[in-house]
């Protein structure tokens, strides 16, 4: 028997998607779509927060509702809500397609919520696919992009390939154990992880999540997709999508019980490769969105440090890192959306004189970039501290040193952006950026959150710790 009450947030999201589906049938009315999206996403956010205490199993045990999944759903919904907040100026998307845009966002969010609760290999696979399919289409929604469908198509092909590899891995795991239930796997995997079939299956099945989190080597889609997508979609991929990927990746790695050196080496390799490749490539970028894409790749590497440590501190750190990334990346995209005229892509130089054109945005950007670089007292510093401490507990000092070197490299391009925003005089007198009061409040909220997360992270880390309590052996 299924307790449908536990499934209410997902049903609500489905219904919200239904609303936009009906809007699609009529003529496009961007104002109405935006208002509906704001209201529905805000109500959904409230709903997911209210249902954070739910617990139970649904659908024959393949769908687990617990604190872990519910908090992640709230985080995913916050990402959705914040993205919708940026949609007041959705000039990167055709007017007629706004309702479709929101429909796809709704569906993607729904799929990610399913992903957070999935404890069966098949539900994981299906929800991962649904969430990605919406995003493939959304990337293509960009109006008048010179490269046309190429980036979106690349994204799609890459996703399909990673899914294929992952499915192959799942098949091997299923073949070895005869079950796809995580609860059952959890008892058996740690003992047999070093068998070739199990190890191969497990590692290959990580591909899909690597793709989602943009971890090396499945990060190669990210720069092009970020660059080509409408700003809001890039923001969504960088925030909600990453949080969902962290949720499922932590669950998967927890399956191994953290006892396998071989799995750890795989993760260490992809972690180091991600941050190094991401940071190095980001240095050479002019386009802000492309730069942020590479920065996402690098941060996926840092998150992996927490995950591969596979201890309480590491999981807590990874979840906290996901939260901090969401806030910081969103703040960056908020500035990009505001600074870009008519949804065009902008180069770093276009931020010149930002501190005069929009002081509050410049300050938010400053804190977000400091946070991304890990400078105290911002939320990003706390996040890095947690994952680095987790690695130190595991005796991985050298890994932390590599990560620190990467942090130094990353300062180069973060400070480059800040230099443009604060110190470079604009060539011509650019227009002042009009920041409406609600938007100003949003920016202020982000500023407060980023500083508060740096100074008083105790509450949030305690919550993250409580979430992961069930994952540890």
């Amino acid at each position: 028997m299924t307790d449908w009450i536990l499934f209410i947030p997902e049903l609500y999201t489905l219904a919200a998607g239904g609303v936009f589906f009906f809007f699609c049938l009529g003529r496009g009315r961007p104002g109405r779509d935006y208002a509906a999206a704001m209201m529905l996403s805000a109500a959904g956010l409230v709903l997911t927060v209210c249902t954070a205490g739910f617990e139970g199993l649904v659908f024959e045990g393949v769908y687990q509702v617990d604190l872990y999944s519910q908090v992640f759903k709230a985080l995913i919904y916050s990402g959705f809500f914040l993205t919708v907040c940026l949609c007041a100026d959705l000039s990167g998307v055709d007017k007629a397609r706004h309702s479709e845009f929101y429909l796809l966002l709704c569906l993607s969010t729904l799929a990610m919520m399913l992903l957070a609760s999935s404890v069966h290999l098949l539900t994981i696979y299906i929800s991962l696919e649904i969430s990605s399919y919406s995003l493939y289409v959304l990337v293509y929604f960009r109006r008048g992009y010179p490269k046309g469908a190429a980036p979106a198509f690349q994204y799609f092909v890459f996703g399909a390939a990673s899914s294929a590899v992952m499915l192959f891995g799942f098949a091997l795991v299923y073949g070895a154990f005869g079950t796809a239930h995580m609860a059952e796997l959890m008892g058996q995997v740690p003992a047999r992880i070093n068998e070739p079939v199990v190890f191969t299956g497990f590692v290959l099945s990580l591909s899909g999540f690597f793709f989602k989190l943009a971890v090396f080597p499945f990060h190669l889609w990210a720069p092009d997709a970020y660059e080509a997508a409408p700003h809001q979609v890039s923001a969504y991929i960088a925030t909600a999508s990453k949080v969902a990927a962290i949720a499922i990746l932590v669950r998967m790695i927890a399956l191994t019980g953290g006892q396998s050196d071989r799995v750890a080496w795989v993760l260490i390799f992809v972690s180091v490769a991600s941050m190094t490749a991401g940071n190095l490539a980001a240095m050479a970028q002019k386009d802000i969105k492309r730069l942020l894409a590479f920065s996402s790749v690098a941060h996926a590497g840092y998150v992996m440090i927490g995950i591969l440590s596979a201890n309480a501190m590491g999981y807590t750190g990874a979840i906290f890192y996901g939260l901090s990334l969401m806030v910081m990346k969103f703040t960056c995209f908020m500035v990009v959306v505001k600074a870009a005229d008519g949804g065009r892509n902008i180069k770093t130089d276009a931020l010149a004189g930002l501190h005069q054109r929009a002081p509050v945005l410049a300050l938010a950007l400053l804190l977000a970039l400091f946070g991304l670089a890990g400078i105290p007292p911002t939320i990003g510093f706390t996040a890095k501290l947690l994952v680095f401490k987790a690695a130190m507990e595991q005796g991985l000092l050298w890994l932390v040193i590599i990560a620190m070197l990467n942090v130094v490299i990353s300062l180069y391009y973060y400070l480059g952006v800040l230099k443009a925003a604060y110190f470079t005089a604009p060539a011509s007198q650019p227009r002042a950026i009009a920041v409406s009061l609600p938007f100003r409040l949003l920016a202020l909220a982000m500023i407060v959150f980023m500083v508060a997360g740096g100074l008083y992270p105790r509450y949030m880390t305690a919550l993250a710790g409580a979430m992961t309590a069930g994952l540890l052996p």
């Binding site: 590692v203 591909s207 090396f216 499945f218 071989r262 795989v266 992809v270 190095l280 490539a281 050479a284």
Partner: protein, 625 residues
Amino acid sequence: MLLQPVPEISLFLAWAAAVVPLAAFGLILVFLRGLPRAAAGTSVAAAAVSLICAVCLLVRHLGMDAPLQSSVTWMASGDFEIAVGVLLDPLSLVMLVIVTCIAFLVQVYSLGYMAGDAGYGRYFGFMSLFAWAMAGLVLAPNILQVFIFWELVGVSSYLLIGFWYEKFSATRAGKKAFIMTRAGDTLFFWGWLILLVWGGTLQIFELNSGAHGLSSAMTTASALLVFGGIIGKSAQFPLMTWLPDAMEGPTPVSALLHSATMVAAGVFLLGRLFPFFSQSDTVMTVCMAVGTVSMLLSATMAMVSRDIKQVWAYSTISQLGFMIMALGAGGYAAGIFHLTTHAGFKALLFLCAGVLIHAHDTNDMFVIGRAGGRRMKTAMVCMTAGALALAGIWPFSGFFSKEAIMGALAAADNPVWLFCGLAGVFLTAYYTFRLIFIILFPRTQAAGANSHGHGSVPASAAMYAVLVILAVITLAAGFFAQGFQDFISIHSPHAKDGHTAFLAHIASPVLAVAGIFAAWMQFGRSASDQVGFAEKIGPVGRLFASRWYLDHVYAWITDRVLDRGIAEGARRTENRVIEGALAMITGWVVICGRMAAGWHRAMIQPKLMVAVAVMFGLTLILLVV
């Protein structure tokens, strides 16, 4: 000898003596800067309260047999606690009375001297700041508190030397004083760090009683470093030339800070840590040597200066040198007694000089003499009394303290110290009466005595009252010599007080009289040409007048060694090695970044191939390994 807690009333009095001037300072700076009279009143009242508290304390504890100490934790970090508190023993009680007494008298004197100055309120604010800092320093029970107030004293000295900051020479002198004393303070800082880290304690009582974990070599090292701070603060060789320059400040400031109290803080600290210092013979010898060199060098400088205040400044260095010699020789009570008497008569000399300078608008003794300085009878009588004390003539206080010092020096193993001390006595008498005679017996009278104040304010009654009080103190203090030394003396195996050497006691006053006679022959009698024997030999005169070229040495060191040597070397290293290496590394990193960015622009086929190959390759390799 065990420490006992301070009784509550005494504790209250001690805190009041220190904190009331601080309150006055805050009040003046925040509210009363624009109200000069109120500011001055507040400051003088605070000084009076301090003085009363100090005298009460002294009277209450006159017969004390064990030091009293109380402290509270100010902040704590791990095992290390920073405590502030009060240590009451004969030394701190006497020093507190000296400081508050001179501070009070000088402030009263300043009421007249500084009248009409634009910065009247600010002046009294800084004076209160100094009074607080000095009281906190005197009462400190641990080295850290000493150091904190030591630095505060330095700051107030800087502020007061540069009080007339619109004068370039004044700001420069303030900077020089601050930086040179800081050079010593740096050593002091290292010294107490050693005490803290290796010795494990900063409590003065524990250090003095030997309850620290330092080896003898470490004891010597830390004591020498602390002595570096004393050299800076008391303007001893080689950090001595800031003091004559500090005479750019107002004369009362010179009287209070740069003769009677602040510069004596160095000697006070030496006395404070006397049992600790005497644990190392090397340090005691170094003290004696530094004291002797400073004493003789500055005496020679005083012989050729034409500036009244500078003569007294050199004389201050010289007398501080005497005190340090005495302490180094083990004459603890003798050194502290000289500090006490010196505070009185040197303040008197400075304040008399202030009256003359005030009236004649010049520091040049020849000009003052020609302008009729001797007609200012009270000032001249008081100044002569102070000069007699400085020269060490019975029955003035200086006689008794100098006799005590000679006794301590005579007890030293090596007679060289005694000879140097006696030579110093002769020189002191000589340069002191050179100044007196030049003013009293000018060679050419100025036409008409019209120079009574070039529009400057005539000296007020308050100023004369202070002079008379100080003169009486100078005359009377000597007769308490025995009681004072009994009260102050400590039971230390190294203390050599009360030693008498008949020859030395005879030789000292004889040489002092000889010095005065020599000065009379060259400056006093009507046939003399008023040119000293040092000035008659050109090179020697120039050597003395240019302060033994010490400032040139400093200039050479700062210019060649610090600036062109170390700083320039560091700059070149920075430019070539560090920046070069950094530029190379960053250059390579940027190139790597360009390559990495380029690979990401590849077509989809190679990208996919790489991704799949990495995943399968990784799996395979790890399975094989």
